[in-house]
Amino acid sequence: MAGAVDTSKGLPSHPERATLEGKNKFLGFWFFLGGETILFATFFGTFLGLRGGTADGPTSADLVALDLVFIMTMLLLTSSLTSVLAMFAMKKNNFKAMMIWMWITVVLGLAFLGFEIYEFHHYVVDYQFGFSTSAFASAFYSLVGLHGAHVAFGLSWIIVLLIRYRKSGITLTNAPKFYVAGLYWHFIDVVWVFIFTVVYLMGVGG
């Protein structure tokens, strides 16, 4: 398998798909992302169906602070750019730059997660807006929480990769792993675009 890859001139220009294993990971991961899209669609559909059912509890217009959501959006968008830059560094065989961009991505992601935990805590403590307050509350925590869980999972994944391969340089084994983790991170960002539109902006604006 790997014997078919010409490595005599240096790192192949597409290290993430130079080996058969890399190609399979790439293909399988996109298949998974197609399925994830549908998973999130069910949560979005549920939220949209139930968002009027506030049962005299707080509505989203009562809860949402737009400035906080704006900061969270900026953090996640920027982290998407830094992971793109990490992948370009990988293709150029610049291991140090890739690690630095990936760590920046992790830090931005952790900041995002911190804000989200603060937000949930704030809702529960200051507004008595718990998971079982209303149908809207359940749908809200399920959808935003599912996204938050994805962020937490993605962060642990990237951190494990960064520690495991901290000294190895870019190889044909770890290049596909970093690439796929990067794709996962972008997908999280894509979902957030719809969350801030559907959950937060729509909640405030109409």
Binding site: G10, I38, S80, L81, H186, T197
Partner: protein
């Protein structure tokens, strides 16, 4: 031959042309990023201020979200690249199923509101 799987490289096999191409690509990604920030600002502005009429605000932010969705997929996730045929096939079938899923859930749950 399995050895070179865990071997790091001291140089890249990229040709000059590929290098130029990647430079151009990075510049493009940064422009796309600026565009995404701009779209996000617009949608927050549309809701926070009265620049966009109230009745049009919701469709407006949805259009912006869909544009941003496309930018992310095509540029950041490279779906525009030529070798992404299967990636496109998987993702598009996912999105294709998404639409009736959301519509059905909205109708089912929304109509039977308690």
């Amino acid at each position: 031959m399995a050895d070179n799987l865990s071997q790091s490289f001291d140089k890249s096999a990229m040709t000059e042309e590929e290098r130029r191409h990647i430079k151009k690509e990075i510049r493009k990604q940064i422009v796309v990023f600026a565009l995404m920030i701009f779209l996000t600002l617009m949608s927050f502005m549309a809701v926070a201020t009265d620049v966009v009429p109230r009745s049009f605000a919701i469709p407006f932010i949805f259009i912006l979200a869909v544009i941003q969705f496309a930018l992310q997929l095509f540029f950041f996730m490279h779906m525009k690249d030529k070798d992404h045929g299967w990636a496109n096939a998987f993702m598009i079938s996912g999105i294709f199923i998404t639409v009736p899923t959301i519509a059905a859930l909205m109708l089912l749950l929304g109509v039977n509101k308690i």
